[in-house]
Symmetry: C2
Subunit: 101 residues, 2 copies
Amino acid sequence: MVYGYIGSMKTQPGKRDDVVAILLSGADSLRELGCRSYVVGLAADDPDTIVVTEVWESKDHHGASLRLPEAKEAIAAAMPMLTGEFTSRELVVAGGLGAGD
Amino acid sequence: MVYGYIGSMKTQPGKRDDVVAILLSGADSLRELGCRSYVVGLAADDPDTIVVTEVWESKDHHGASLRLPEAKEAIAAAMPMLTGEFTSRELVVAGGLGAGD
């Protein structure tokens, strides 16, 4: 089943753009890992919140990507700039524009 | 600015798949309206909740798409199958895989 994930994170004041840069730095390499979409957004109603929406070939593909050394390094680099306030939602992707291969 | 929208809706019991079919029916035609991504997902934790994540060239493109007769018809067809419980979040899209043209 195609897997969707929506995650938000809150950054320390003034650190949003630095975290966005980290999130975007690896985005191009995700396709070969089974990622169909990885969109980084800035919450329109909050200057310190980032929302990432993702589509993966499966939940396992998503999980495997997070265990890669590059991902762990990115998470370690971003974590000190985050407040620890996260939200997440998992989805079964039914289809749509941009959900395919 | 590239515009992102995450919207959820709750369906009447047993009506989720009917609403998903309505949402997907027009997805292919969205690209020419300025839509870069329109992904319909089923909430993994709730059998009656649908989440749509969208990326548009601008907020105006998104707004214009909702004023088309086809969109109004689709909304009118889906509305009786919804409970009226909606959430929405607007985003400024910073980039990522699937956020481009």
